[in-house]
Point group: none
DNA sequence: CATGAATGAGTATTCATTCAT
DNA sequence: CATGAATGAATACTCATTCAT
């Protein structure tokens, strides 16, 4: 078994390297601003090799988008112990979001930049909705319990994602240190924004 | 009155039409996603004409960015009656931001998308800083008076811009109605997030 | 009458200025290397004005070529006192050529560069032949009289034009001073090259 | 032997074909008169392929210029047996020049046309100087030995190059047959032009 | 007559994609 | 499987020419 795992095909290795290289480039310059040969070069493979792993440039962005969004969803939407008070659920979600954001700032920026790209296919879009649905349902539950004020769930999502993305972006430009302390301070502020009383 | 209207140079008219067309295209697809001939077609002029008004495609985005950022700065940073309480100043700023955002949603999305573009020149970047400086100084004043909690000014800016941009984006995708009511509700939430007590 | 002449239309003045500007530009960069707006700018007129005086860019080069070639032919092929010895006729021709070349180096370079241009029309080409014919007939006469050796007339033309053009070009690049002394020295050398004995 | 031939890379073959096609086009129409797609078509490759072998159109002309000038220099400036009389050295140089010119008339016309192009880089220009230096040093030596008259070396170069270029040009237009006989006749004429006595 | 804004075909160059090795 | 040379459509930009003022 161990041996099996060690055998991880070198092919997959290249796929990973390509996605990694693509992330680094797409994140700052966007889909149209990056040339396929450039991705190949950064990944250390030949141009033709890109097309062994991805049918088109479109397929590559979509694969990347899906991969990142899936990681994000998995990290943030992991099951939560039932019966937890709303405040704690909120904290859990926020801490998961910011932990992911601090560990994968490029992923956050990539997703924020490509959210509305015309090249995203239905499957990629579906993953965005999964997240939105979960977030909205948390808000609705909190409201039902009287812990969260009478706010449009979408507005709360906009606020939370905007805050996380904002912290990531400003941290990248050096005007802010996005550490645990900043995350906690923002959590406090956000909770005040939405909490009842 | 008639004479006044006749004085509007047709030349300026085309420049305006080009900027308008460029905004509509750049806003959704980004700088590299839009071809110059497309802008010309949308503006109803020939390709060559674009280059009569803007030296390069770069110059065109920068002109657009500057124009929008300037309008935004003018609208939001208009002088404020001295002696106003922090809560009222905050309200004024937020209402100006959201009024502008609701009247110029494409401008907001364009600015949010192109904030970090490599094609922005120094003058364009300078306008961004003007706004950031003003926002941070408001937060610092509020803190000094004890009205705003001990938060990093940059974090407050990230929160407010993120909220406004988020509302604009979600409104575009139809999941939210960005009207005066939504604006007021968000103002309330944001003030709770940063206010002392 | 004097007054009539003084009335030389300002229109002709512009035509002259355009030809002059065109010469300065075509001479170094060739037909395709020069843009019409550039010629207009150098002549101090609007682009559209160029087309009042010349139907096309082609027509402009041809007019220029003809004008220069005609001046050259007029200067060099002026009637020669009958009965002059071959050596003196040769001297006369050579001195006329080099005087023209020294006074109009740009004209020489322009003609040398554009001799074979595809844009030259039949009339322009005809002027070249006029010159070649005259030159060849001089050589034939000299040979008949026994003053010039048994050389192909075309070869003599090639030699003389090559020498004059070469002096003009090298003078332009600064490696040579093309003055009366250089002209005389070259005359001596050329005569030795072709003279009998 | 067969194996030797098989070793010729097809890549070099295309580079050679491009240079060959470029020579045929530039020679008559000049740098600005030829479009890159035309070169590609004549070489039998796609437009994009041109840029695999040459970074820009500029780089292509320079490569061509260098290649031709180098061939010319190699052919003409090959080492000469020491102790040879000036007359024989002169003959050797002239015969090398005309042999090259008769075998590569397009190269001669190309070099004559592009000598002063603004697109030539320093390395290309350097090759021109190499030739000029060698030619001038031959003249100076001849003068020192008393075999060549007191002439400016540059003037001699102008005369010889002008003669060779003239023969090539007139031969192209059909008014002259540039064969060994013509070459010999011109050699005789040129030697008379510069020899002492 | 003179102007210069407007045009769109044409230019050099890039880049997603294919395919023979 | 991997390669990178080859392709040609597409891009940013230029320029000869026209025409309303």
């Amino acid at each position: 078994m161990q041996t099996e795992k060690a055998k991880t095909k070198p092919a997959d290795d290249k796929r990973e390297k390509l996605l990694e290289a693509a992330l680094g480039l797409f994140e700052t310059r966007g889909y149209d601003g990056v040339a396929v040969p450039e991705i190949a070069a950064k990944a250390g493979v030949a141009v033709g090799t890109v097309y062994r792993y991805f049918e088109t440039k479109d397929a590559l962005v979509n694969a990347l988008y899906r991969s990142l969004k899936q990681s994000y969803n998995t990290a943030v939407l992991a099951p939560i112990e039932p019966g937890l008070p709303t405040r704690e659920i909120f904290s859990l979600y926020w801490q998961r979001m910011t932990l992911f954001a601090r560990e994968n700032p490029r992923a956050i920026r990539f997703m924020d930049l490509h959210h509305h790209g015309a090249y995203l296919d239905d499957e990629s879009r579906a993953l965005s909705k999964t997240y939105a649905k979960a977030a909205e349902s948390f808000v609705r539950d909190g409201r039902r319990r009287g812990d969260i004020r009478d706010l449009d769930p979408v507005m709360v999502v906009a606020l939370m994602w905007g805050a996380a993305a904002g912290l990531t972006k400003f941290s990248a430009s050096g005007s802010l240190k996005f550490d645990a302390h900043a995350s906690d301070a923002m959590e406090d502020a956000l909770w005040r924004a939405i909490a009842n009383d």
